[in-house]
C-alpha cells in the first residue's frame, strides 16, 4: 500500500481561507483531524474523496504514493468512506450492499462466495438475503465497514464514524475498524469531535482552528 499524501492543500470559501493542511499518512496509520464545528473538517474529506462543492475553491494535491488523485473522478480514486450513519442501500439486500462495491470480475457464484465469506468474518453468517432494515445498529455498522473493505480501497476516510453508536458498541466498533485498517495497511484520515476516538486510533492528531 502507498501513503496518502496531502500536498499543501488550501481550501477557501468565497475567497475567505477556510483551512490548510500539509501532511503524509503512512499505510496502516490513522491521522485524526479535530476541531470545532464549521471549521471545515468535512470539507477536507469531500476534497480528498472528490466531492467538493463548486462553492469552494481549493488548491494543493492529493496523492496515493505517486498516483495523483486530484484530477480523477470520485469513482476512480479508490478512497473508501465511512460515515456516522451506516447508509446501507435500502433497495438492496445485505449481500447486495456488499456486492455493490466489489469489482465486477468473477462468476456469480464466486461473487456470492466472497460475500458469504465476508459476512462470516463479521459474525453475520447467512445474512446475505436479509433486508438491511431488519439489522441491529451494530450489525449495520459492521456491514458498512465490510462493504468499504470489499471495494478494495487504497485509503480510508472516516467522518465521525462512531458518534451515533451507543457507548458499548462504540468501543467494539473502534477496535474492529482500526484493527482492519492496520491489517489491510490502509492510510486513513478520521474527522471527529471525540478525543477518545483519537486516543483509540493511536495516530497523530491535528487540531484545525477557526
Amino acid at each position: 500500500m502507498d501513503p496518502l499524501i496531502l500536498d499543501d492543500i488550501r481550501i477557501a470559501l468565497d475567497g475567505a481561507p477556510l483551512l490548510g493542511i500539509d501532511t503524509v499518512i503512512a499505510p496502516g496509520d490513522v491521522l485524526t483531524v479535530m476541531g470545532p464545528s464549521g471549521v471545515g473538517k468535512s470539507t477536507l474529506l469531500a476534497y480528498i474523496a472528490g466531492f467538493l462543492s463548486p462553492a469552494f475553491q481549493a488548491r494543493g494535491r492529493v496523492l496515493l504514493g505517486s498516483r495523483e488523485l486530484t484530477r480523477l473522478p470520485a469513482e476512480a480514486r479508490r478512497v473508501g468512506l465511512l460515515f456516522q450513519d451506516p447508509l446501507l442501500f435500502p433497495h438492496l439486500s445485505v449481500g447486495g450492499n456488499l456486492a455493490f462495491g466489489m469489482a465486477a470480475s468473477g462468476s456469480r457464484r464466486q461473487r456470492r462466495q466472497r460475500v458469504a465469506a465476508a459476512l462470516a468474518e463479521i459474525g453475520l453468517e447467512g445474512f446475505a438475503d436479509r433486508d438491511p432494515a431488519t439489522l441491529s445498529g451494530g450489525q449495520r455498522s459492521r456491514v458498512a465497514l465490510m462493504r468499504v473493505l470489499l471495494s478494495s480501497p487504497r485509503a480510508m476516510l472516516l467522518d465521525e464514524p462512531f458518534s451515533k453508536l451507543d457507548a458499548a458498541l462504540r468501543g467494539e466498533m473502534r477496535q474492529l475498524v482500526f484493527q482492519r485498517i492496520r491489517q489491510e495497511g490502509l492510510p486513513a484520515l478520521m474527522v471527529t469531535h471525540d478525543a477518545a476516538d483519537a486516543e483509540a486510533a493511536g495516530g497523530a492528531v491535528i487540531e484545525l482552528e477557526p
Partner: protein, 567 residues
Amino acid sequence: MPSGHAVGVRLAPWLAIALLSLPVASGLAGVIAPAFGWLPALGGNALTLVHWQALLQAPGLGRMVQLSYVTGLASALLSLSIVVLFLGAFMHTRLFTAVRRLLSPLLAVPHAAAAIGLAFLLAPSGLLSRSLSPWLTGWQYPPDILFPGDPHGLALIAGLVIKEVPFLLLMSLAALPQCQASERLCMARALGYGPLSAFLKAVLPGLYPLLRLPIYAVIAFASSTVDVALILGPTTPPTLSVAVLRWLNDPDLTMRFMASAGALLQLVVTLAALASWWLAERLVRQLMRGWLENGRRRSGDMLLGGVALSAVSLSVLLILGSLIGLILWSLAAYWPFPQALPQPPTLRNWMGAAAGLGDPLFQAAVIGLAATALSIVLVVGALEAETLHERPIRPGAQLILYLPLLVPPVAFLFGLVMMQVQLGVAPGLSVVILGHAIFVLPYVFLSLAESYRRLDPRWAHLARSLGAGPARVFWRMRLPMLSVPLLTAAAVGFAVSIGQYLPTLLLGAGRISTITTEAVSLASGGDRRLTAVYALWQLALPALGFALALGLPRLLFRRRSGLLTPV
C-alpha cells in the same frame, strides 16, 4: 463516446423547457394574427379590427368578462382562506395528519367528475334537497331554482373551491418545512400567542411567498376554466372561455377570427385578475404591518378556529356527498323526487354504458400513460442535471415551470389549433399526447422535486467512492431509492392527464374522445344516470393509478422495508 446518461442529462432540461415554453409562446403568437384578421388558410389576408368590433358587439360580453374575472378571484380567495385558517387552527393536531392522508386521493379526483358530482348533489332535485324533503323543506316537487348554472356563478365558484383547496394544501405541505413553520410556530406559542394568531403572525408571512405561484396558477385556472364552467357555470351568458369555445366550434368558419380575438381577451382578463391580486397583496402587506407587531396574542382564535373547522368539513362533506350522489344516480332506474334512495337499485345503467365505454377509456389510458412517461423522463433528467451540477434551480426556471399553468389554456391551445390549420398538421393522437404533457410535466416536477433534492448527497458520495460512475449511481442507486416518490409522481401525472378536457378536444379536433370529453358532453345533456356512470369511470382511472402507486411498492418491497419509509 459519451454515455446515454450523460447525453440524457445534458438534453433533458432543454427539452423540458422547450416543451413548456414553445407551445405557449407559439400558441399565443398563433392566436394574435387571426385576431387581427390574418389567417390565409381561411381567407384572411389583411390586417383589420373588424373582428374586435364584432367581439365587442357580442351580446353579453361585459357579463362574460365579469363572470370570468370574479370567479377567478373569488375562488382563489376562498380556497386560500380555507387553507390558511385550516393550517393555522390545526397544524400540530391529529386532524392535520388525517387530512394529510386524504389529500392525494382528493387531488386525483378529476375536475369534471367533481363538478358533475357537485351538480348532482346541489341541484334542486339533487341528493341534498332529497334528503331534506319533504320532512324539513315541505317540498313535494323540486323547487324552481336555477342551480347549478346560477347567473352569479356561485355553483362554479363552489366547484372550483372544492378542487383548489386540496391543491393549495398540498403545495403548503411542501412549503411548510422550507419556511421552518414548525419552529416559527413553537417560538410564537412559547411567547404566549394563541395557535391561530401564532400561525397568522409568525408563519404566514414566511409561507405566503412560497405559495404565490401556486395561488397565481389557481387564479389563472379558475378565471379560464372550460370544463368546470360547462358543467356548473351559467349559460346565458356563459363565462368568456366557454363562449370562446362556442365561437370556435361554430359551423361558420369565419367565426374563428372573432374566437381568436375572444381568446386574446381571455388572456387579458386572466392577466387583469392576476394584477388585481398582486395589487391587493401589496395593500394587505402595508395594512398588516402594524397588526403583525401590535403584540396582541389572541385575535379571535376560538371564532376563526371554528370557522376553519366548518369550512374544511364542508369541503370534505361536499366531495363525499358528490361521490355518494354519483354512485346513487348510476344505480338508479326510476327515482322520483323526493325519494332519498333509488328503489330498487339496478346495474342496468352500467351494463348499458359498457359497450360505449371501452374506446374512450382506452384512449384516455393510452394518452395518460404516454404523456406521463414523457414527463417523467424529462423531469428526472432535469432533476438529475440539477443534482450533478449541484446548482439550485433558478427563479426563471421556476416561472417557466408555471407558464402553462399561468397562461389560460384556452388562449394558447387555441393559437396552436390555428397554426395547425395554417400549417396543415393533421390532428391526431401524438399531438394530443404532447398537448397533455404540457400540463402533466409541471405537476410531475412539483411532485417529484422535493424527494429528489432531499435525497442525502452522502448516498451518492458513498456509491461513487465504492467505484460507481455517475450513470451507475443513477440507475442502480438513485432511481431504485426514489421508486416510491417516482410512482407517486407518475400517479399524479396520470391523474392530471385524465382530467384534461380542452387539449383533447382542441388538438384532437374532436376526433379523439376520452372518458373526460365524453363525460363533459354528457353532463350538458339530460341523462343523469349515464353521466354518473361516465363520471365514476373517469374517477376510477386516476384512483386506480394511485392505488397502484401506493400498493405496488408495498408488494414489491415487502422485504425492503427501508424503502417504504422516507429517507
